[in-house]
């Protein structure tokens, strides 16, 4: 407690960002420290789990220390610690969990485990202070493409998800093949702005009528085949056009299905979350398609879309308030479901 505010420290190490943050009353970000490893993993063309774990270990103390310093508080002011315990890379998750438990024990602070995906949704509580459930959530990231109904805090009903590649994964693969490199999402977004989205007719995969699931592997194959054909025919490939057309085929289906889900469940708001939620074309298309049906679209600023500790702190705050029991025997669960 400081000045009458309940302070939560959130710790996040599920993939390649070591992050910690102090959040007041579950809503107000006092500090948000994110130490990214992207520069290290770029040399390998993607996240190397063993290296990610090693780097988390080296950085987690200072990231936690800086989160406290930046917020102008000390460990004894912290009322609650929240930590991501899944889903994610097991070796990466366990650094955050071990650190959180050691701190909780050493400083007598209650600890709750947070589902990383609940955290992504909670990022919106930090941005939109009036937002409360119920709402529809669209989570799009390197590992996830999911439509989730959120009836109350930290309650998630998954309505649809990808049957093969996540959207971010498809972006990464195509980005690599057209020479844009890693991380694919932001690079495709940038290249697409210079390209013509209607130049190549990539298919839109909607699956069975009414389905809220996704499939991107066929689209990815189509893109790879297109590139091969162009190369074999000796035709020059316009990287920007490929990026724009491919991106459009991905985000159009996502936006359509998110709007369909909100209509079906009578939700007047769609909340966007996850790294790919910062894709500028997806954001624009969501506004357009949802707006046409009178549905509001809420999204966190890009810094809260990437993995961060603040969203974990917010989700932890609401879990604790709902009566979740502190747990010093918390384990990491890499395949944790919603």
């Amino acid at each position: 407690m400081k000045n009458g505010h309940f302070l939560t420290l959130g710790i996040e190490t599920s993939c390649d960002e070591t992050a910690a943050s102090v959040v007041a009353d579950g809503r107000f970000v006092m500090s948000n420290v994110i130490s990214s490893q992207i520069d290290i993993h770029t040399a390998y063309g993607g996240v190397v789990p063993e290296i990610a774990s090693r780097k988390h270990l080296e950085r987690v103390n200072d990231v936690i220390g800086k989160a406290l310093d930046d917020a102008g508080v000390s460990a004894k002011d912290i009322d609650l610690i929240g930590v991501t315990y899944g889903p994610g890379l097991v070796g990466a998750l366990l650094i955050g969990v071990a650190a959180a438990k050691a701190m909780a024990y050493a400083c007598d602070i209650p600890l709750v485990g947070v589902n990383h995906m609940h955290g992504h949704i909670a990022a919106n509580y930090l941005e939109h202070h009036e937002l409360e459930p119920p709402f529809m959530a669209l989570i799009v990231s390197g590992g996830h493409t999911e439509i989730v109904n959120v009836p109350e805090y930290n309650k998630c009903e998954k309505l649809g998800g990808t049957r093969d590649d996540a959207a971010g994964e498809a972006f990464d693969k195509v980005a690599r093949v057209i020479g844009l490199g890693y991380p694919g999402g932001p690079k495709i977004d940038r290249a697409a702005k210079e390209g013509d989205k209607d130049s190549i007719a990539f298919k839109r995969v909607y699956l069975e009528h009414g389905s809220l699931d996704f499939s991107f592997s066929g689209l990815k194959t189509q893109a790879l085949n297109y590139l091969n054909q162009q190369r074999q025919a000796g035709r020059e490939i316009n990287v920007n056009d490929v990026a724009a057309s491919f991106q459009e085929a991905v985000v159009e289906v996502i936006a359509d299905k998110a709007v369909m889900a909100a209509e079906k469940y009578g939700q007047k708001r769609i909340v966007m979350a996850g790294g790919v939620a910062s894709n500028s074309r997806l954001r624009a298309l969501m506004e357009e398609k949802a707006g046409a049906k009178g549905i509001d679209v809420l999204k966190p600023s890009p810094v809260l879309c990437t993995d961060n500790g603040a969203m974990i702190a917010s989700a932890a705050y609401y879990a604790f308030r709902a009566g979740e029991k502190p747990d010093l025997e918390l384990d990491a669960i890499p395949g944790l479901e919603f």
Binding site: I51, L57, M103, K173, A332
Partner: protein
């Protein structure tokens, strides 16, 4: 002095508290690879059985490896953050050295000259070393002195070097310990001359925090302490992707698989 020692590099986790007189209070688990889940409970039990509170701790020591990468990371991270939050220094103890210390009395009582901790690193690889008991000037306490470097050995190479050493002293015996016995027992039996070696019993074969605490106490007395951010794992091996990157053999297939 009240030192907390953590051991998580093998399949069983344990925690001990040692005081300046050398009294040790331990808590250990027989559940395999339960380190992340069980470590705080073990630490709390060890501290309680020592009759102190965590705020009375003066140092946090960890067995830093070699061993299971995952296990090493859990122990080292726990030690680093506890030390940071309690505002006390860390001590980094070599896992192999602590294993040697742990069976030293047993080895001496069995007349073995050398103690050989061997950790299974798969595919005929080991993390190993050879130690010899050395008595201090008062001839009461003995400690393990390293005579063959702590590093990665192919089991066959380790045994060959060891045979050469044993041949220098008539009737000398080597006392093996660690899960390397479980993995390479048959190879050791067929490579070593009859009567030249002994295996530690299963009850004392695996890593434990008690000898970690004993080594840590001597290091603390000698001023060999570290800031929490200086306590680092001793993996003894680069990550596979790093090896490939250095060797220039990082293939596209590996890159894809690692995404």
């Amino acid at each position: 002095m009240k030192i907390l020692a953590i051991e998580t590099t093998g399949k069983y986790g344990s925690a001990s508290v040692i005081d300046e007189t050398g009294r040790v209070f331990s808590a250990d688990s027989r559940e395999e690879m339960n380190h992340l889940k069980g470590m705080i409970t073990l630490i709390d039990e060890a501290i309680r059985s020592a009759g102190i509170t965590k705020d009375e701790l003066t140092h946090v020591a960890a067995s830093v490896g070699p061993g299971s990468f995952t296990g090493i990371r859990i122990g080292v991270t726990t030690a680093r953050v506890m030390a940071q939050m309690l505002g006390i220094p860390c001590i980094g103890v070599s896992t192999l050295k602590a294993m040697a210390e742990g069976i030293l009395d047993e080895a001496i009582s069995k007349d073995a000259l050398y103690v050989v901790p061997v950790i299974n690193a798969r595919r005929h690889q080991t993390y190993a070393a050879v130690y010899e008991a050395e008595f201090t000037s008062d001839h009461e306490k003995q400690s393990a002195v390293n005579i063959m470097e702590e590093k990665q050995y192919m089991i066959e190479d380790l045994l060959e070097e060891l045979r050469t050493k044993l041949a220098e002293t008539d009737g000398a015996k080597a006392f093996f310990t660690g899960d390397g016995i479980d993995a390479y027992g048959d190879i050791i039996r067929s490579a070593m001359p009859e009567g030249s070696y002994l295996f530690a019993d299963e009850e004392i074969r695996y890593q434990h925090s008690e000898p970690v605490a004993r080594v840590a106490l001597r290091m603390a007395e000698g001023g060999k302490t570290l800031g929490y951010d200086e306590l680092m794992p001793e993996y003894m091996r680069l990550a596979e992707a790093e090896q490939r990157l250095k060797a220039g053999t990082l293939s596209d297939r590996i890159k894809r698989a690692s995404v």
